[in-house]
Amino acid sequence: MKVDAPALERATAAKATSASGTESRGPLAAMVLLSDLDSLIHEAQDDRARARLRKLGFALDGLPRLLTARQRLAETADRRWVQVYERVRQRYGRGLAAVRERVCSGCFVTLPTTARPRLGSQALQICESCGRLLYWT
């Protein structure tokens, strides 16, 4: 595999200096990042998880920055989907579930073959069984 390191450095530097950029990639990307960010925040807030990471030598002092980024992302994402996400998250702990082999990883229900979105589609879907947002991988 060929990797052009200088070009990669330029590209990543440009991306890092731009505003989040996630919202410009579509609503699905924003919701996936929001879900992952919530998982990360949970790790930083949970006493047991914090203790385990600190024992390994990791610093976890940037939680306020993370909460700010989370708030900003939630504000810029599509409000309708954020509301659905928040409602399901309060009920189940996670508001978005990846679809693995046509199975919702939240409730483990097999989804119909027709449910799969077109390749590259940014359309969001909701699991008819558990109500979580679906992320087809």
Binding site: S20, L33, G57, R65, L66
Partner: protein, 155 residues
């Protein structure tokens, strides 16, 4: 154009013996790109965003030239540890200010439990705790030797 070779070196690990990037951001991007090429990640840009947020939470440089960035994400398809070596060192901003020469990127799917996820991070950290293991990884001359050194350190 430089060349980075990526092979499977361990049950759960992918090895990059010669990381080209010198900066943390681009080193992470190089590893995520490798993971994407090998079908470990569905959307590399989302994963990279999450890794940036993880670094904002706290630097993942542990000192002694070791960094263990980590992510539990919906975009990760299969759990993997990307083991990368940078002989020249990467400016990671670790507490001891030493350049990072060994980076282990821990990737896990979002649905992994805390116990499984932190267990994988802990096993990865313990693999490089001993100086002799770190030295073997740094001294490995070939891709196979690097993979074997990691296998030995992680066992």
């Amino acid at each position: 154009m430089t060349q980075a070779t990526v092979v499977t070196g361990h049950d759960l690990a992918l090895c990059i013996p010669d990381l080209r990037s010198r900066k943390k951001e681009s080193a992470l991007a190089e590893m995520v790109t490798a993971a994407r090429e090998l079908g470990v990640v569905a959307h590399s840009e989302l994963l990279l965003d999450l890794l940036r947020h993880r670094e904002r939470l706290g630097n993942t440089g542990l000192g002694k030239g070791i960094a263990i960035p980590q992510a539990r994400s919906s975009t990760v398809l299969i759990p993997r540890v990307i083991v990368a070596r940078s002989p020249r060192g990467i400016d990671w901003g670790a507490a001891d200010e030493a350049p990072v020469t060994l980076t282990m990127l821990v990737l896990a799917p979002a649905e992994w439990s805390d116990d499984a996820y932190f267990g994988l991070i802990a096993r990865t950290a313990s693999a490089t705790r001993l100086q002799r293991n770190r030295q073997k990884l740094m001294d490995a001359q070939s891709l196979d030797a690097f993979g074997a050194a990691w296998r030995e350190a992680a066992s």
